[in-house]
């Protein structure tokens, strides 16, 4: 377990999700403390993204309960969870392409954190600065490249004033040095006390931030704890290699 034993931030109990006959999550139990940075790994189709979607409210849980800051949020819509500080980014960036980079971030700043006009403007600039996007703030969002789209996802989530940031493969498809830049940005966030749950396939990138690792497979959490221990856990090895450890 992580060294930070702060108050409990998020608690998921027996969370299950079905799409018709397809059972994507079953009986997921997960608890994290404030200030923690948790990495999630697992093979494709393990239910990682669905887990984030259920946490963020994009999908309703079929079973189980989710509490955030001790408050039951299982039934409240995504927009309100976002107002509470539970903010996610998408695996495939979804910028508002008809708007500029600045407007994309500003719209999140205005509608979260109960800021006034000036404060929202400042929060927008700060988020853009932190993600290194000030120089292209006035570009139309559909004209920027992949790295910038990923950064924009992050900047927009940041402007929403998150307490817990849910990152879905934000490093996917990036080069080594691009991923390194992203890691530095995210480590600035964790230094500010923002808690993070981060799904990533590139484990060594993930481990620069995460002090605790979770491995999911077939809709369940199969290992949870110290990253090295998790990666050498027999079930994890089996999930990845499809066989018994050598």
């Amino acid at each position: 377990m992580a060294e930070t034993a702060g108050p409990i931030l998020l608690e998921a109990k027996g969370v299950a999700k079905r799409f018709g006959a397809l059972q994507v999550l079953s009986g997921v139990n997960f608890t994290m403390s404030q200030g923690e940075a948790v990495g999630i790994v697992g093979p494709n189709g393990a239910g990682k993204t669905t887990f984030l979607s259920v946490l963020s409210g994009a999908h309703a849980a079929s079973e189980g309960r989710i509490a955030f800051f001790g408050k039951d949020i299982t039934a409240i819509p995504a927009m309100q969870r976002c107002h509470m500080g539970l903010v996610r980014t998408h695996q495939v960036p979804r910028p508002f392409s008809g708007m500029t980079v600045f407007e994309n971030v500003h719209v999140a700043a205005v509608h979260n954190g109960g800021r006034g006009r000036e404060a929202a403007y400042q929060a927008t600039l700060e988020a853009l600065d932190l993600c290194g996007m000030l120089a292209i703030a006035n570009r139309q969002a559909d004209t920027i490249g992949l790295l910038d789209r990923k950064r924009l996802e992050l900047a927009r989530a940041l402007a929403a004033d998150p307490k817990l940031l849910l990152l879905d493969e934000i490093g996917g498809g990036l080069t080594e040095s691009e991923a390194e830049e992203l890691v530095q940005t995210i480590s600035k966030l964790t230094a500010r006390g923002i808690s993070v749950i981060w799904i990533e396939h590139i484990v060594h990138v993930l481990l620069k931030i995460a002090r605790r690792l979770i491995c999911m497979d077939a809709g369940r959490i199969i290992a949870d704890g110290d990253p090295q221990a998790v990666m050498s856990h027999p079930e994890v090895v089996k999930a990845y290699l499809g066989g018994s450890p050598e």
Binding site: S56, G57, A58, P77, A78, M79, C82, H83, V87, R88, H90, R94, F96, S97, G98, M99, E103, N104, H106, V107, A108, V110, H111, N112, R117, A120, R156, A157, A160
Partner: protein
């Protein structure tokens, strides 16, 4: 010639004004409001009723009409469009079509077949005109309408680009799910957009009644002109709607110059030409899908 162009520009201002609400709804909510013309006429009757029975000037009547229509727009989104949108893209359009039939027939039942006008309640303004250099006269109502169109379209454009609510409306129009995830109340943003779109129809109602006459079934033709102006101007752009209105009026004027009955044909031809040109040459997801249906793109 110059005179005809001046008149056409003024008429174009009227088309832009009646197209404003339709264009706004189409661009930010992706809904073609087929009840637009009927709501326009409903507003006209409201102002006429106030003038006829209480001697209220249409300009004063607008102070009541615009908020009432805005409320109707809010209710339209919350109770009809939001629900029907769950059934696919086509259902909201059919819903507004049904609404237009209901409104037209209710108005006919209530007010009969007589044509009405707001001209009796605005005094000299109904016939006064400005003289431009070169001995060209343009009606004051026409100029007022053109100015109203510019102010309304410009104001809405500013609202969308500058205010937090405007940005929320644009974000919701593009991707309601993501809007929710960044903390925007998508239902509220859509309801506000609908309230603005329908509320703005009130101003067009006043212009309709002041410059001409209307009856219960006058909405269809107004809807057609508004739609043509919107499409010519490039659906989705408010300033484009102003240009579209003027191009439509110029085309109609040119049509009338060629043949006495060519007025409407001229406008329709311009509309169809622009539609085809956009269909064939302009990029964009919508036209791409159309091209695909027509077998012109893979």
């Amino acid at each position: 010639m110059l005179n005809q162009i001046a008149q056409a520009i003024v008429l174009g201002g009227y088309y832009a004004l009646i197209a404003c609400g339709l264009s706004f709804m189409l661009s930010v909510m992706r809904v073609i409001n087929l009840a637009h013309g009927s709501l326009l006429v409903l507003g006209g009757y409201f102002l006429w009723y106030l003038g006829e029975n209480y001697q209220v000037s249409p300009f004063v009547g607008l102070l009541a009409l615009v908020p009432l229509l805005a409320l109707a727009g809010w209710a339209l989104q919350r109770f009809l469009l939001e629900r029907s949108a769950r059934g696919g893209e086509l259902l909201p359009i059919l819903t507004t079509f049904g609404l237009s039939i209901v409104l037209d027939n209710l108005l006919f039942e209530q007010f009969g077949a007589d044509t009405r006008s707001l001209a009796p309640y605005i005094g000299d303004l109904a016939w006064d005109s400005f003289e431009l250099p070169g001995g060209i006269f343009v009606g004051q109502i026409g100029v007022l309408t053109l100015v109203a169109a510019i102010v309304l379209l410009g104001g809405l454009q500013l609202f969308l680009s500058r205010t937090g609510t405007g940005k929320a409306i644009r974000a919701t129009a593009e991707d309601p799910d993501t809007a929710g995830i960044v903390g925007i109340d998508a239902r509220k943003a859509s309801a506000i957009a609908s309230a603005i779109a329908v509320g703005s129809i009130g101003v067009a109602s006043a212009a309709l009644g002041m410059r001409a006459t209307f009856d219960a079934y006058a909405g269809g033709a107004q809807l057609l002109f508004a739609f043509e102006a919107t499409i010519i101007g490039g659906a989705g752009s408010l300033w484009g709607t102003l240009i579209g209105g003027i191009v439509l009026a110029l085309a109609q004027t040119a049509g009338a110059a060629i043949h006495p009955q060519g007025f409407l044909i001229g406008g329709h031809l311009a509309f169809i030409l622009v539609l085809f040109a956009r269909f064939l040459f302009l990029p964009g997801e919508f036209t791409y899908r159309l091209r695909r249906i027509a077998g012109l793109a893979k």
